[in-house]
Amino acid sequence: MSAREIKAGTITACVKKLFMDCNYFIGDDIMNAVCRAQKEETSGLAKDVLGQIIDNNKIAAAEEIPICQDTGMAVLFVEYGDKVVISEGSFEEAVEEGVRQAYTEGYLRKSVVSDPVFDRINTKDNTPAVIHTRIVKGDKIKITAGGKGFGSENMSAIKMLTPSAGVEGVKKFILDSVAYAGPNPCPPIVVGVGIGGTFEKAAQLAKKATLRSIDTPNGDERYAALERELLEEINKMDIGPAGLGGKTTALGVNIETYPTHIAGMPVAVNICCHACRHKECEI
């Protein structure tokens, strides 16, 4: 396979569109799940809250305005084909420019501060993004983008479980994390779980899990069964829509895994609100 040239401007245009689209148009997987949940709820308040979420998502899509005012910190998972050469610029600069254009021209909120502890001065264009890049075989670039709101990000957790904890330990940590979060992360939530790897790998897997459609189960039937079981358990907690009680606390549980060390079993839980926004494209 010979080298393929992609212009930096093509990357920028693609990233810009991903962030605008994901903030205006909720995925069909989420919208369908919320509509189903509204029919199944028996409490008037829960039905009312889900009804507001449905109306909200319709307004956002029709008027092309953000679903939520927290349009998030820009997170990208990139599979970068090793035969791709960027011309007229560089890859990361092109991505940052796409984020900048989406957030400034698309009426998205600028929510990033320059320094986490001391200055906390808004960068005014929502950059920098958080970019996870993997070099893969091929001549294409695949980008999965998500705008991650921090109401739910702040409710996320990681624990370095050890092997003897077993699947019961994994379940307990995930359920405890969701119970602890309670009403705060804007339920109904999507629960992204990363299991295995190292400390940082588990966290990255959990984020990646939130960017997968809730209609696509884990490819390993054992984990797919665990996803279904956890969803059922979480929806028995009665946290409910907006934390006001009801059968719909989570819309989906997505698990991603990776091989790990003989001594470890890291588990990360990245919680996403009902405005679980992500889009992908291939260049």
Binding site: V49, S111, N154, N184, A242
Partner: protein, 178 residues
């Protein structure tokens, strides 16, 4: 569904019970993390605030930018617990209504009861819908904070739920841990 006006009256506060659905009309001020930190620091230095809070309402929000032709951009509530550290001082100054989402600390709940205030919840993530009930937004101060500046919003039939009432009734009091 109860209708309230903002600024609220003490009688209206007494009438609100945790779980009630409410439509609010009138005006309120917006403030979130950074504006709260600044106001708190002013109070610690013995200085006065840029906004008179006695009897007033604070909505914890940082709106998205307004598209041309809109009064305000999408503006749903942010998580209230991050304001807990600063809230009792503001309630002691006469702040009567807070609008946000999610749990509050025991200190805030005690202060709500002591000061005869009320905490209302808007639906998190329903920002485009909530914006329909904001008819006007006017910058008051802290412009340098961008979305975290203090604005005065005029609201009409803003859909809310009483989360913590002046008697300590609390829709978030349930413990979900097994």
């Amino acid at each position: 569904m109860k209708k309230i006006t903002l600024p609220i009256t003490p009688e209206q506060i007494k009438d609100l019970k945790a779980g009630d659905r409410v439509l609010a009309s009138g005006y309120l001020y917006t403030a979130r993390d950074a504006a709260h930190k600044r106001m708190y620091e002013l109070l610690q230095q013995g200085k006065s605030l840029p906004v008179e809070l006695d009897g007033q309402t604070i909505y914890y929000v940082g709106a998205a930018p307004a598209k041309p032709g809109y009064a305000v951009g999408p503006c749903g509530p942010t998580s209230s617990y991050r304001m807990d550290k600063y809230t009792p001082s503001l309630l002691d100054l006469g702040l009567k209504v807070m609008i946000g989402k999610g749990r509050r600390s025991d200190e805030v709940i005690d202060s709500i009861k002591k000061n005869g205030a009320v905490y209302l919840a808007a639906i998190g993530g329903a920002a485009a819908l909530i914006a329909k009930s904001i008819t006007k937004a006017e910058l008051i101060c802290y412009e340098d904070l961008g979305t975290e500046a203090i604005y005065r919003y005029e609201v009409h039939d803003m859909p809310l739920i009483v989360a913590i009432d002046c008697y300590g009734g609390n829709v978030y009091a349930r413990d979900f841990a097994k």
